[in-house]
């Protein structure tokens, strides 16, 4: 866990990609879940943030 946070602080690709992946997965789940409509409303912005973040952090050093 501490490796993960160290990687985030040192702008390493692995942990940042992991974070972006989690955000995208949460966004897609929010888009398609059948429980609450507010999650559907905010799903697009969450997915967009995750996707843009993924594109940026995939250029970070390993």
């Amino acid at each position: 866990m501490s490796n993960f946070f160290n990687g985030l602080l040192r702008l390493r690709r692995g942990p940042w990609e992991m974070l972006a992946t989690i955000i995208i997965a949460v966004g897609v789940f929010m888009l398609m879940q059948p429980f609450v409509i507010w999650a559907f409303t905010y799903s697009f912005i969450v997915t967009l943030v995750g996707t843009v973040m993924f594109i940026i952090v995939s250029h970070f050093p390993e």
Partner: protein, 315 residues
């Protein structure tokens, strides 16, 4: 012979052109060759995408080309993301996506595993199994419509044979509960062979000596399956899930032929709904915003899958 042709072409090149080309660097010549492709890519892919983004902020209607579109900011996105009908369409898509991928991976992998066993006539069986995916989705949709007919449909008779129910007592395409499953069954029937072929490629890429080494170490068949077969087929399986996931997220033709989105809107997947908004209601700006939402979702999913694929490959 070819030298002579080259000499002839060189001699035929006008002097001023030849002089210009001779003065160019290798990099510039490379750019000259690549430029038409880049131009085509920009014109066919990038420009429409940027244009769609622009339209998504307007109230443009493609059937009223003389009307000046008004800039309405994020209102289209706001309307889509607070619309409970679109939310229901997303749920229908999620149901379709989850169950088709689940069944296709399960059945596809099992079939590949069975076909991979050396037995007489397995090539013939492979050919027979892959036939459905070679058909047009429109054709498949049409003939499954006949199979699902309550009076004459073979599907209903088979179900009736096993359950003892009257074949005409249930309607797969007309029932709110059964229609979502009817499209799952057809897509699974059509695309399981694709997943099977990819899994088969994965299974055939595993060298025999790994199993031989496991046999020497007295690993059981079950242990070999979970520690050799599954991990080595996983990258291929991920690829199949990626392809099918993206394809099914934008599924259109098969479902339109089968149910047309009905009964009501129970099988109205997002792509069908998007088509209605764009080309039946002619709300082009609104449909553009809708398309951008779907595009970002597919792009995000593709990023996750590609990352997962690379990770499994590294193992």
């Amino acid at each position: 012979m070819s030298d002579k042709t080259a000499d002839r072409v060189a001699a035929a090149t006008p002097t001023h052109v030849a002089r210009k080309i001779r003065g160019l660097s290798d990099r510039a010549i490379a750019w000259i060759f690549v430029a038409p492709t880049i131009f085509l890519l920009l014109a066919v892919n990038i420009f429409p995408l940027i244009w769609t983004v622009r339209l998504s902020f307007t109230d443009y209607k493609a059937n009223r080309i003389n009307r000046e579109p008004e800039w309405i900011g994020l209102r289209n996105y706001e309307r889509i993301l607070t619309d409970s009908d679109i939310w229901l369409n997303m749920q229908a898509t999620a149901h379709f996506l989850f169950w088709t991928i689940f069944f296709q991976v399960l059945i596809g992998f099992t079939l590949a595993w069975l076909i991979n066993k050396k037995f007489k006539g397995n090539d013939l069986w492979t050919t027979i199994i892959v036939l459905p995916m070679m058909l047009s989705p429109a054709v498949v949709g049409n003939f499954w419509k006949f199979l699902y007919q309550p009076q004459i449909g073979l599907f209903n008779y088979i179900i009736a044979f096993f359950t003892g129910k009257d074949p005409s007592s249930f309607e797969m395409l007309g029932s709110v509960d059964l229609a979502p499953w009817s499209i799952v069954i057809v897509d699974t029937w059509m695309w399981t062979p694709f997943v099977m072929l990819i899994c088969l490629a994965g299974l055939r890429s595993i060298p025999d000596y790994i199993y031989e080494a496991a046999e020497i170490d007295r690993a059981s068949k079950l242990r070999q399956f979970f520690t050799i077969t599954i991990p080595m087929v996983l990258p291929f399986l991920m690829l199949a899930v990626l392809f099918r996931g993206i394809e099914n997220f934008k599924m259109f033709d098969l479902v339109v032929q089968l149910t047309g989105g009905g009964p009501g809107s129970t099988t109205e997947l997002t792509s069908i709904n998007l088509k209605r908004e764009a080309f039946e209601k002619w709300r082009t700006g609104y449909a553009s915003a809708y398309a951008i939402i779907l595009f970002v979702t597919v792009f995000g999913l593709a990023s996750i899958y590609v990352k997962a694929l690379n990770k499994v490959k590294e193992r």
